[in-house]
């Protein structure tokens, strides 16, 4: 019993020495983390159609999923995917032809994000995207998929740490999909788990 007490005492002393011997650094060092973020919110398509864009539905809900590696400094690297509906055209698509057209996109982007001040981040991303076009009208229903190789994203985010593992916040993103020259922006609420 006495030896047990001694072992506990030594352990406590050792740990105390370890912890309290470090003064707070003069700069906050953020330790190496990974975060998994899910986001959802409003998306808006910037209508630049030269044909058939008169009665376009441009506002939808979108969802995103991001995995970030957050090393100890300001920069983070990550991958983002998600699902966004770009636009829907319904009704008289041209003077003579009724129908419905839906276009959606699943991006897979490599992201670089930088914390500029506490909680505020800006980011840039590039990668590939799968664009799906569905038409019903003027004949049969047709679904086509296009692989877009030059795509870009700009983003700004506010991320607040709730506790050691949970973060939440909001994000504004602008996407451009090169193959179809489609541009949209999205405002999302995000929730992240840090591990």
């Amino acid at each position: 019993m006495g030896q047990f007490r001694a072992a506990i005492t030594m352990g406590l002393v050792f740990l105390s020495a370890m912890v309290f011997s470090q003064k707070n650094d003069s700069v906050k060092i953020h330790l190496n983390h990974y975060t998994l973020t899910i986001g959802t919110g409003w998306t808006h398509y910037i209508n630049n159609l030269e044909m058939g864009g008169q009665n376009l539905q441009k506002d939808f809900a979108g969802v995103s999923l991001k995995l970030f590696w957050e090393p100890e400094h300001r920069l983070s690297l990550g991958l983002e995917s998600g699902y966004y509906k770009l636009f829907r055209a319904k009704g008289q698509l041209t003077d003579n032809t009724p129908g419905q057209v839906d276009r959606s996109v699943i991006p897979l982007l490599f992201l670089i994000r930088m914390r500029i001040i506490e909680n505020i981040h800006v980011g840039i991303g590039t990668g590939i995207a799968l664009i799906t076009n569905k038409i019903a009208g003027g004949g049969q229903k047709v679904i086509t998929e296009t692989r877009s190789l030059s795509n870009f994203e700009l983003s700004g985010a506010y991320i607040y740490q709730l506790n050691r593992h949970l973060l939440c916040g909001g994000e504004v993103k602008l996407f451009h999909f090169g193959n179809t020259e489609d541009t949209m922006y999205s405002i999302q609420a995000t929730c992240a788990v840090r591990f």
């Binding site: 003064k23 650094d25 400094h73 920069l75 590039t126 030059s150 870009f152």
Partner: protein, 239 residues
């Protein structure tokens, strides 16, 4: 008594081991860890970075151009008297550019300026529709960079001219085009270098190529005497 002494000694030892370190100040200075920012590179010392460029070619060139990111390795070697050598290999396998040249840099407090002249060799080879096509070119890139640094971040603006010394394109053994010395255009780039992990530095850059002959798209056999804006997003990790 023995026990108390042992405890005392352990206390002393653990305190020493875990360091009454003086408060660890972050002493990182971006200057010596950068590659694009103009500064006096460490003499007789190499720096290497590896990265990718994502390109958006114009529609005229998209018809048969290979769309893939450009892989890049960049090397600097410090010399005395504010000189350095830089070399760069950029490739998408079917198109490759190797360039190298001297630099001279000046650093005054937080501002740096660097000038240089690169010579580049371009080689491409691609089998298209059963034909063995290839290209070779010699190019010159006189360049100048100005930079501004903070303690942990550096910004560099770089401008360069692109001069084609000679470009020759072949299909099999037949030379299908040959051009001699012409001003191909220029590029303007902006780089941000900052720490990413421990003291490793990450480079993000945006580059606009305003050129007639864009070497990664040689396989188009373009006959146009026309300038195009071709933006690149550049990301690189200093190893």
């Amino acid at each position: 008594m023995k026990f108390r002494l042992t405890l005392f000694y352990l206390l002393i030892i653990s305190t020493l081991v875990s360091a009454q370190k003086p408060a660890t100040k972050d002493t990182f200075d971006i200057t010596s860890h950068t590659m694009q920012f103009p500064h006096h590179y460490k003499k007789w010392s190499f720096q290497v970075s590896a990265g990718l460029s994502m390109v958006k070619p114009p529609e005229d060139l998209l018809e048969s151009a290979i769309q893939a990111p450009l892989a890049n390795v960049h090397v600097t070697f410090g010399l005395p008297w504010k000189l350095s050598l830089e070399s760069d290999l950029t490739t998408i396998i079917v198109s490759n550019q190797l360039r190298a040249g001297p630099r001279i840099s000046f650093l005054v407090r937080n501002m740096g300026i660097k000038g240089g002249w690169d010579i580049a060799y371009v080689y491409g080879q691609l089998k298209q529709s059963g034909f063995n096509n290839s290209t070779q070119a010699w190019m010159h890139y006189p360049n100048i960079s100005i930079g501004y640094k903070l303690k942990k971040m550096a910004f560099t603006l770089k401008g360069e001219l692109a001069i084609v010394g000679k470009v020759s394109t072949k299909s099999g053994e037949i030379e299908v085009s040959r051009s001699k010395t012409f001003l191909n255009g220029g590029t303007l780039s902006f780089y941000v270098e900052q720490r990413i992990h421990h003291n490793k530095v990450f480079i993000i850059g945006l580059k606009d190529n305003y050129v007639k002959f864009y070497w990664p798209t040689w396989m188009l056999f373009s006959t146009f005497n026309r300038f195009y804006h071709i933006p690149e997003l550049y990301i690189s990790w200093i190893l």
